[in-house]
C-alpha cells in the first residue's frame, strides 16, 4: 500500500472509528513523522497494524458478541448482572444458563405457571412429563402426601385445561 501523500510505501496505518464511520490513514515514515505520529520502538508498521487487527478480533470473540435485540454484550450482562431484553436470553443462552444457575442456587428450568396464551398441547405434555417424573420420585421416596398432591396437579392439568384457540387474541 502506498502513502496517501506520496508514492512511497506506507508504513503507518491508522484506523479511526468515530460516530460509526471508519477513517483510514496510510503514511510513509517521513509523512508519519511530519504528522506527529510516533512509532514506538521503531516497530515495523505492519506489526503495529497487526496488533490493532488482532486486538479487534480478540475483542469480538471474548464476550463482545452483541444481542440483536438490544445490543448488549455478555460481558456487560456479567458485569452488571442485568439482562438487556428478552432476546438476550436467546442470544446468550449458554452463558446465561451458568449465570442463572448460580443465581438460582442450582435450579435450571422453569416449572411454574405459564401465561394462558401459551397453554398449548405441547406445553401441557412437557409439564405432565415433569410432574410424572416428580411423582415417581415422590413414590420412590415414600413421600405419599407429596405424591398425592402431584397426582392432583397432574389430573388438573390433563382434565381441566380448556384447549386454547389456535390463533387470535385471548379476550378471556
Amino acid at each position: 500500500m502506498k502513502c496517501d501523500l506520496c508514492n512511497k510505501p506506507a508504513v503507518v496505518h491508522e484506523v479511526t472509528i468515530s460516530g460509526g464511520t471508519k477513517k483510514e490513514v496510510h503514511l510513509c515514515l517521513e509523512h508519519a513523522q511530519a504528522a506527529g505520529i510516533a512509532i514506538p520502538g521503531q516497530q515495523p508498521a505492519n506489526k503495529l497494524l497487526s496488533k490493532f487487527v488482532i486486538g479487534n478480533k480478540k475483542g469480538e470473540t471474548a464476550g463482545h458478541q452483541r444481542c440483536g435485540g438490544c445490543g448488549s454484550t455478555f460481558g456487560q450482562i456479567k458485569q452488571t448482572n442485568l439482562i438487556g431484553c428478552a432476546e438476550c436470553y436467546r442470544a446468550f443462552e449458554d452463558q446465561l444458563s451458568q449465570l442463572i444457575e448460580q443465581s438460582q442456587f442450582g435450579h435450571r428450568e422453569h416449572v411454574g405457571r405459564i401465561p394462558r396464551k401459551m397453554h398449548t398441547p405441547s406445553h401441557n405434555e412437557i409439564r405432565a412429563r415433569k410432574l410424572m417424573r416428580e411423582l415417581d420420585a415422590a413414590v420412590t421416596a415414600e413421600q405419599y402426601e407429596r405424591a398425592a398432591e402431584l397426582r392432583d396437579r397432574l389430573n388438573e392439568l390433563t382434565t381441566n385445561v380448556e384447549p386454547e384457540p389456535e390463533s387470535g387474541p385471548d379476550d378471556g
Partner: protein, 339 residues
C-alpha cells in the same frame, strides 16, 4: 386497610407477595431509551386502569409528584425506594384499599405486589395471581419455555415471585440469636433485609424475610415452603426468645419496657431510629402482657413517625429540629393513656 383481625400480629407485621413481569417486544429498562421508558408507562397505565384489578384503582405519575409525596408512598411500602429515587419515567397503580400496588418501570417493567396485615401470605398470593391473570389478557409478558418469566436480573427469573414477611424480632435481638437466624436464612436461601427492603437498615428490630429462589419450583411449592416451614419456625423461635426473657428476669424486662414507654411519653425531641427502637420495646411489653396498647396503634405509629408522614401530619415543611419536636409530640399524644 381491611378490618380482618390479622394472624400472628405479635411477630408478623405484614405479608407481601410480588411478581416481576416484563413486556415482550420492549427492551428491559437498563437498555431502554427515555422515549421507550415513557412509552412503557403510557401503554401500561391504560391497561392497569382498565383491567378491573381492584374496585378502585388510582394511577400516580411518579414523575409529576414531588419527592415528599414519593417518600410518603415509600413509607407506606406502596413503592420501593428504588422506584422513588429512579430517574426513569415511572408510575404506580394503587388500589383504593392500598392492598395492591403495581409499580411501572422499577427494575422490571412491572412489579405487581399485594400487601396484607399479619401473616396472610395466602390472601396476598391470591390477589397477585388474579391480577397477573387479568393483566396477561391485555399485555404480552416476556416468557421462555426454559426459564419462565424473563426478568432483568437472573435472581428473579422463572416464577418472578417473591414472598416476604415483615417481622418484629426484639426477643431474638435481645437474646443475641439474630446471628443464628441469619445463618439459617442463608442456608435456606432466604434474604434478610431491613425496614425498607433491599439495601436498608433494620429499624425497631423489624426485618423483611423473603425467598431468594424463584426458578425450579412452582409458585405453590415456594409458597408452601415459606408458609408451612419457614414462617412457623421463625414465629416460634421469636416467641420462645420472648418467653426466655420473661422467665429469666421479668424485672429486667419490665424495666426495659417501662423505661422505653416513659421516654416516649416524656421526650420533647425524638429521632426516627430512637423512636422506633423505643416503640419496639413497648411493643415487646404489649406482646408479653406487661402493657396494654392495641398493637395496631403501635404498628401505625411506626409509619406515622416517618419523616414524610410527619410533614403530612402538620401540612408544612419542617426543619430538622422541628421534625424531632413534632415526632415527640405525636408519640406523646398517642401513648398518653397507656397503663
Amino acid at each position: 386497610m381491611d378490618e380482618i383481625t390479622p394472624r400472628d400480629p405479635d411477630v408478623v407485621l405484614s405479608s407481601r407477595v410480588r411478581l416481576a413481569r416484563n413486556l415482550s417486544g420492549h427492551p428491559f429498562l437498563n437498555r431502554a431509551s427515555e422515549t421507550q421508558c415513557a412509552q412503557i408507562v403510557r401503554s401500561t397505565q391504560h391497561v392497569l386502569l382498565n383491567a378491573s384489578v381492584a374496585e378502585k384503582i388510582i394511577w400516580i405519575d411518579l414523575d409529576e409528584i414531588n419527592a415528599h409525596d414519593r417518600s410518603l408512598l415509600v413509607e407506606r411500602h406502596l413503592i420501593s425506594k428504588n422506584l422513588a429515587e429512579s430517574t426513569l419515567h415511572r408510575g404506580v397503580a394503587i388500589s383504593g384499599d392500598e392492598q395492591l400496588s403495581i409499580m411501572v418501570n422499577e427494575e422490571d417493567h412491572l412489579r405487581i405486589q399485594a400487601l396484607r396485615g399479619g401473616s396472610d401470605i395466602d390472601a396476598a398470593f391470591q390477589q397477585v395471581r388474579e391480577t397477573d391473570l387479568k393483566l396477561e389478557q391485555q399485555l404480552d409478558f416476556a416468557f421462555s419455555d426454559r426459564w419462565g418469566y424473563l426478568a432483568v436480573c437472573p435472581t428473579n427469573v422463572g416464577t418472578g415471585i417473591r414472598f416476604s414477611i415483615m417481622v418484629h424480632l426484639p426477643g431474638l435481638r435481645i437474646t443475641n440469636e439474630l446471628g443464628k437466624v441469619r445463618r439459617a436464612a442463608k442456608e435456606l436461601h432466604l434474604a434478610v433485609r431491613g425496614y425498607y427492603g433491599e439495601g436498608s437498615e433494620s429499624l425497631g428490630n423489624i426485618f423483611q424475610i423473603s425467598n431468594q429462589v424463584t426458578l425450579g419450583s412452582t409458585e405453590e411449592d415456594i409458597r408452601d415452603i415459606f408458609t408451612e416451614r419457614i414462617m412457623p419456625a421463625l414465629i416460634d423461635y421469636e416467641r420462645s426468645a420472648r418467653q426466655v426473657l420473661l422467665k429469666r428476669n421479668p424485672t429486667l424486662l419490665d424495666d426495659r419496657v417501662h423505661r422505653a414507654l416513659n421516654i416516649l411519653r416524656s421526650a420533647r425531641l425524638l429521632k426516627v431510629d430512637e423512636a422506633m427502637k423505643l416503640i419496639s420495646r413497648v411493643r415487646l411489653g404489649v406482646c408479653l402482657d406487661r402493657l396494654r396498647v392495641p398493637l395496631h396503634q403501635l404498628d401505625d405509629l411506626f409509619i406515622q413517625i416517618q419523616p414524610a408522614h410527619l410533614r403530612q401530619h402538620v401540612n408544612c415543611s419542617l426543619n430538622e429540629e422541628e421534625e424531632l419536636e413534632i415526632r415527640a409530640s405525636l408519640v406523646r399524644e398517642v401513648l398518653k393513656d397507656v397503663d
